[in-house]
Amino acid sequence: MHELSIADAIAETVIEQATNHHASHVKHVSVRIGEANAVISEALIFCFEVIASSNPLLTGAQLKVDIIPHQARCRWCDCEFHVVQYITQCPRCGRWEAEMLSGTEFLIQDMEID
């Protein structure tokens, strides 16, 4: 259940930023999380809702989670492929030397406030 800790970390940053912007209420928060972080969107949204319900600034705030696919490119044959379960073997030439293109992102992107 690392989703609870992640939701807690998101809430902490959002509260800090909302306070800095003198917001009365946060309505939406969007995050970009790479597939390689093994985060389950539904669990993260559920945990965020639970945490949000106990803070007046965040009550009813909705979390939008964009999961960024884990993509890699083979250094030998330039084949771009989707990495499944961290296996970085090129599906075309079979070599194991791939460069990561995306999938490790872990960002709070933006929020909508009143």
Binding site: M1, H2, L4, S5, I6, A9, I10, E12, T13, V14, Q17, H21, A23, K27, V31, I33, N37, A38, F106, L107, I108, Q109, D110, M111, E112, I113, D114
Partner: protein, 144 residues
């Protein structure tokens, strides 16, 4: 209603605390190792042996992470090192703020090495930096 751009690492707060811990331990010249493995791989056993074999040469302290019990800290103390137990109450990894609290209970002055024994799990402990100098992973292989 207005849209505010944040674009900040989700674990930014953890990173901030982790950097503070790293700075504190560097000032005290304590080498800090975050010890990770899946459950039952032998982290505590490895630590017990390390403490016994380095006794008299290097002063070792241990922060023990566990979901429920303080059994591991008792084993470490019996082996002859200072130990502080963090019981995470269900959380499957250690976070920097937990380590920061535990550090208050350790006497850092005599220490050469501080081991932070993470919760037995290889998924999320990897994501949270704890202010360590090194991460070490213990891997158990099956015996045939």
């Amino acid at each position: 209603m207005s849209k505010v751009s944040i674009v900040q690492n989700i674990l930014a707060v953890n990173e901030r605390i982790s950097n503070d811990i790293h700075q504190l331990l560097a000032e005290r010249q304590v080498c800090t190792i975050n010890l990770m493995s899946s459950a039952g791989a032998g982290k505590t056993t490895l630590l017990e042996q390390t403490i016994k074999r380095l006794k008299g040469r290097l002063e070792i302290g241990v922060i023990e992470g566990d979901v429920e019990t303080s059994a591991d800290a008792e084993r470490i103390e019996a082996a002859g090192a200072q130990a502080v137990q963090i019981i995470t109450q269900g959380t499957c990894h250690l976070e920097a703020h937990m380590v920061q609290i535990a550090l208050n209970e350790l006497d850092l002055e005599p220490l050469d090495i501080l081991f932070i024994e993470n919760v037995g799990n290889l998924v999320c402990p990897a994501g949270w930096n704890l202010g360590e100098d090194l991460k070490i992973v213990v891997v158990s292989t099956n015996r045939r």
